[in-house]
Each structure stands twice: as structure tokens, then as C-alpha cells.
């Protein structure tokens, strides 16, 4: 477990023990307010994907801003367990639950909360139904429809319709609607490609409705495209997560949202001219798919990250840098970075306001 030196509340960010994960409360609330107020004027509502930050305390702040549909989304059933234990009564689990252990846990959770699962196969649906009915609970089901850049989900609309019919027939499952399979945020995707990707989903919706079955929820989208998708007729739910904290990956699409999450490190060595070594490497920045951005020295350049070090070239930096100075990094993928820390240092006006638990960190199951 992370073992930082806990500083007194009110300490300046520069005094914090490093590496640490910071969340700037004003930037966080500004992002949440901006995105949620957008949804206030749309038929579609946001269901915050809180599996990105894994922190119930942050999720509670998000839910204070209207524009959401009352629920949250997470990736795994063990994350759902954490959020339900922290009072979130309506939880969508986007990852597939295919083993008896996971389905049993979802059914236990369904005894005291509304659990929605995603399904793309008849065999899985049968397992969910059998276990849920034997436990005397009902799981809400979204049938997952494949997307052009995704990899799971149903691609045959007739198969989707058959699945929906089975959901309505079976005990223990309740047909809630459709969800577009997750597709990773990729650089350079155009607006019309985003809209086109929804077509299979909307076609299946029409097919099901033409068979007399109401489709209550039609879910799609992410931080990179929430503003485009929320306006599409027929979509009524967007599951976005990174918008609240933001990261380098999503800033290409949502440049007006503020960087609210930062990793702070300390310069530990200045071994030669033009090079500094910091204490925040891969284990704290998480460069699984991209490098972080140095926020306080925009002219500095990351040479490379190793597990516990960052090598930074400072030849273009005008201001002098000393041993002990702080480095602020914007994560490349905040979903990776938040999962590396047990604590979030919540900052307001440059001072430590409170320390939050990243309760669902490490909950991959």
C-alpha cells in the first residue's frame, strides 16, 4: 500500500511528499459542471464511468451536479462492490461476467442495489438468468452491440433480437436496453465517423421496437465524443469517465476541460547540464500507452521514464531548476494513473484540502 508522509491539511502542494496523485478540486468541479450542465439540456443523460478514478468520494461530488441519470458505471463487479458499499444504488458493470463467481457476486449486490450487466451471447445470458433466478434476484441487462472499432458485442441484428426476446422470457433478467461496445479512444477520429459508428446500435433499436419490445436505455459514448453523441436522436445515456479529471489522451478532443489530475514529483538529481532526474517514473505516471505532459515546465522534454525515475531534458527551460523542486505531470491515461495510488491529495488554491481513498484501486476482478 502507498505510504506517503501525510501532511497537515492546508500544506502547500510544494510541501507534499512525492510522488503523489493530486486532484485540483476547482478544476474537477469545473469539468463536472461543464459536462453535466451540457446534459441538462439534452434528452440523453450522463452515467459517470467512475471506474476511471475508482474513488467514491470523487464520485459523490460528481453526483451533486445534475445532468446524470442517477447511476454510475464501473468496469468490474469487484469495483461495483466498492461503489455499492459507498452508497451508489444504481450501478452498471460494463465488463462481461462469465464465471459463476462473478455472477454470484453480482447477484449478492443485486439484493441491495440495482445492477445492470452487459451481454453479447446466449450462453452467458442463460448463466446469468439461471444464477439470478436461483438467488431470487433480477439483473438488468443491456445487450451489447458491436461498434466499428470495438471488439465485443453482437454484430448480427437478428441474433440481437433473439437475445432480447430471451431476456424478456427468462427469470432473473430484465431487458433494459442496448449499449454500444466500448471502442478505445483513438487519435484522429472525425465527428462523422463517431456518428456513423452509432448506426448499427440505432438499427437494432428500431428492429426491437418494431417487434413491440420497448427499449428504455440506449447507451454509447465516452469523454472524447460525449458532446456529439448526446445530441443523436435515440441515444439517452452516455457513459463517460475521464472528463472529470482529464488527461493528455482526451485533451485532443475536449480542450476546454481542465487538467484536474496531476502527479507531483521531486527533482532528486541534476547530474549534468540540461538533464534533471525526478522521482516519478512509470510506477507512478503509468505510461502504458503514452507519455505524461510536464505541466510546470512546458519547454522541458521527457527523455525517458524508467520504473522509479524520470529523465527530463531541460536545455530549453529558461528558469533555473534546483534539487528538491517539484515536477507536475498530467497523466496520459488517467484511468491507468489513478489505479497506481491508494490516496488522492485533494487540492484547493494550491493547498491540501483533504486526502481521499482510491477505494477501488486494484479491483480488476
Amino acid at each position: 500500500m502507498e505510504r506517503p508522509i501525510f501532511k497537515s491539511l492546508g500544506s502547500k502542494v510544494e510541501e507534499l511528499d512525492t510522488p503523489a496523485l493530486l486532484v485540483d478540486l476547482d478544476a474537477f468541479e469545473s469539468n463536472v459542471k461543464s459536462v453535466h450542465s451540457y446534459f441538462q439540456n439534452q434528452d440523453a443523460k450522463i452515467r459517470p464511468f467512475v471506474g476511471v478514478h475508482r474513488c467514491p468520494a470523487l464520485a459523490n461530488i460528481q453526483m451533486q451536479y445534475s445532468g446524470h441519470n442517477g447511476g454510475v458505471a464501473v468496469g468490474t463487479v469487484s469495483q461495483a462492490e466498492t461503489f455499492i458499499a459507498n452508497g451508489f444504488q444504481d450501478t452498471l458493470i460494463t465488463g462481461k461476467l462469465v464465471t459463476a463467481d462473478k455472477i454470484q457476486l453480482a447477484c449478492s449486490l443485486a439484493q441491495r442495489a440495482s445492477i445492470t450487466v452487459t451481454v453479447d451471447s446466449q450462453e452467458n445470458l442463460k448463466d446469468l438468468s439461471d444464477i439470478a433466478s436461483s438467488r431470487g434476484v433480477t439483473l438488468s441487462v443491456l445487450i451489447e452491440i458491436s461498434s466499428p472499432n470495438g471488439f465485443t458485442g453482437v454484430s448480427d441484428s437478428q441474433y440481437a433480437l433473439d437475445l432480447v426476446k430471451k431476456v424478456t422470457e427468462y427469470d432473473g433478467t430484465d431487458f433494459q436496453g442496448l449499449i454500444l461496445a466500448y471502442s478505445p479512444t483513438m487519435s484522429g477520429i472525425k465527428s462523422d465517423e463517431v456518428i456513423d459508428s452509432l448506426k448499427p446500435l440505432l438499427d437494432v433499436k428500431s428492429l426491437i421496437e418494431s417487434n413491440g419490445i420497448p427499449v428504455n436505455t440506449v447507451s454509447a459514448g465516452s469523454t472524447s465524443n460525449y458532446d456529439l453523441i448526446a445530441k443523436v436522436d435515440g441515444i439517452n445515456q452516455v457513459t463517460a469517465g475521464a472528463y472529470a479529471l482529464m488527461d493528455v489522451l482526451n485533451s485532443e478532443y475536449q480542450s476546454s476541460l481542465k487538467p484536474a489530475a496531476m502527479v507531483v514529483g521531486t527533482v532528486g538529481s541534476l547530474p549534468r547540464d540540461g538533464l534533471i532526474i525526478g522521482d516519478a517514473g512509470m510506477k507512478t505516471n503509468g505510461n502504458d500507452i503514452g507519455l505524461p505532459r510536464i505541466m510546470n515546465y512546458p519547454d522541458a522534454e521527457i527523455m525517458y521514464l524508467s520504473a522509479e525515475h524520470c529523465n527530463i531534458i531541460t536545455t530549453k527551460v529558461k528558469t533555473p531548476i534546483s534539487r528538491g523542486d517539484k515536477l507536475f505531470f498530467q497523466p496520459y491515461d488517467v484511468g491507468v494513473t489513478a489505479n497506481l495510488f491508494d490516496f488522492i491529495m485533494l487540492i484547493k488554491d494550491g493547498e491540501l484540502q483533504s486526502i481521499l481513498d482510491v477505494t477501488a484501486r486494484g479491483r480488476y476482478r
Partner: protein, 369 residues
Amino acid sequence: MDHYRPSVGTKISELDTPCLILDLDALDHNFDRMSETFKDTKVKLREHTKNIKSPALAHMQIRKGGTVGGVCSAKVAEAEVMVEGGIASVLIPNQVVTEDKIKRLCVLAGRADVTVCVDSEENVRDISRIASNLNVKVGIAIEVDTNMDRAGVRSVEQGVHIASVANQLSGLNFRGVMSHSAMFGVPKDDEFKNDEAIKYYKKTVELADAIRAKGIEFDMVSSGETFSYDMAPFVDGITEVEGGMYALMSTMLSYMDGHFKYAAKILGTVVSQPKSNLAVGDIGYRSIASSLNTDDPFLEGYDEVEFTSMHDEACLLTSKGEMPLTVGDKFMLRCPQQDLTVNRYDNYIAVRNGLVEQVISIPGRGCHN
């Protein structure tokens, strides 16, 4: 935090996933290999705990023999975990520069044999001042850069100067010299790898000799890593090797798999089969960890299946013909860089002969400070 602790005797096929598997036979092999290499040599192993993050595993290697009886730890917090877990000697091959963290280091030095690495006079003076105030002695080693262009002194003169300062100040025990080297990419052959290893060892010894020539005595010349471990006995003057990745192994060191076995793996489950030749697994980069410098994980046991791509919470497996894996089946991935992976888990599910033998906590997880 994840609290998954399956019962002893659970079959691997029945485990909940993704979880971190520790193959105990492979681990024993790797620990034995090190103890056999170093049991009769002057140079000994000082295992790096950044890779295992567990005092229990560190004790296993120490009990096997061939070690200095202590470990290396990347950070002060990790060193604390090791000392609390009963390890008596810790080298921190890293700089500790802030006032509060130096205090924390000094308190630890009051409880165990603790040495920290420095590359500046200013840092040495800070540590001396704080250690003297707290009435403890902190071990000091000079870090020398060999090939990483990372921390460490860049010249023998600079190293000798800092050593002379450290040797005279109160609150310090001057212990010697430390270096860390990297093999970037895959070496073209063993000869090249071994030549590189010897070159970096000699650079470290060069500084040690120059400091000794000034009449300063010390006992530690600490260097080396998994790729270079077996060359250390051939270089006079190296006292200890800081290998870490050997214990659990990574595909980035696949060129060392004649020496060490893959002991840490991530177990996953196939959750969807959208096409007959495609399986989607529940392991993504968030749960196995990747970096820009490493290749994809390696799928064990299925020659005809290719690991195609990895996403945040999923991976794709593609087969040439019929996919042998179906929904619900388990599969095992070797880690690209295992220290990043272990740092994302709270427990090892330790297995032997296909059954859970033990669940071992990872108290050093997240000890970045």
C-alpha cells in the same frame, strides 16, 4: 485495494480473474540459480525488492544463500516495508533529497543497516546535518552513471570529491560505490551482453579504486542487474550484485530465459468470442501494465494463438484456425515488465502443481515515496 484470498488447494482453473499468479517452482528455480552462482564467490547477491515488493519473498532468497543478507529497495517507503518485515540491511540505490524524507530515512537507519546513494555534495551535507540532529548514522554510497544517462556522478574526480566529503561528516558511514546499468533492447549475442556487463562493472570499480587511493576505506561496491549477474564474479572489486527481475522474470528479458523461469503471470478469462477465430480476454493494460518500451505480453501454452492487441480492460487473442479457447476458459500471460505488474496487485496467488499453495501479501505495492 483488492482482498482476493482464495483458499489453499483451489485449482488454477477455478480462480477469479484477472489475478497475479506466482509459480513457486519457477521462483524456487530462480532463487536457487542465484544462490548457486554466488554461494562460493566473493561477490554476493543483494536482491532488489522493487521487483517483488514482499519481505516474504526476500527472506526466501536470503535463506537460500549466496546473498549479503540484505536487500536493495527503490524508495524509503519500500525500505520501511522490508525492515518492518525483518530484513536487517537495505541499500536504497536512489536519491533522497527532501527534508522530511531524509528524516524518515534517518529514523529507519536507527533501526537497521541503511545505505542511501548520492551524487551531489549538497545532498550529502543535508543528510549529515539531519542524521546528526537525530543522533543516527546513515550509510552513504556514491552513485556512478554507467550507461543510462540517469542519476550518478559523471566523473571519477566528482565521485572522489563527494566521497571525501561524506567520509569526514558526522552522522554518516561512508559505505562505497553503487551503479545501475541497462541493456537497451535485446543484445545481439551473449558475448556482446557479457562485454557490456564487464564494461559497466569496471567503470564502477574504477571509481571505487580512485576513492581507496585517497586512503578512504569502505566495504561496498554494489552494481549489476539480472542481465549482468553472471559476469560479476569475473570482475575483481565488485562486492555485490543488485539483481531484481530474475526472481519473477519478464518478456523484456526473454534473452535470459535460459537462466531464469517466468514466475509471475497474470491469469485471465475469455469473456467474449465475437468471431470463431477471435477471443476477448479480461486482461487489459491496466491490470498487466505495459510501457512504451516493451512488447505485448506472451500467451502461454497456445502456439497457434496470437496475442493481437491490448486495451485498457481487454485483450484480443486470434487463432489461425479454430480458436481453442472459448468463453469462460482461463489463459495465462507472461508480463512484459513484471515490476510494473506486481506494483498493481495486493496479493500473489502462489501456485504449485496447478493448485493454490499460499496467498502472499505485497505490502510494498504502491510504496513510491
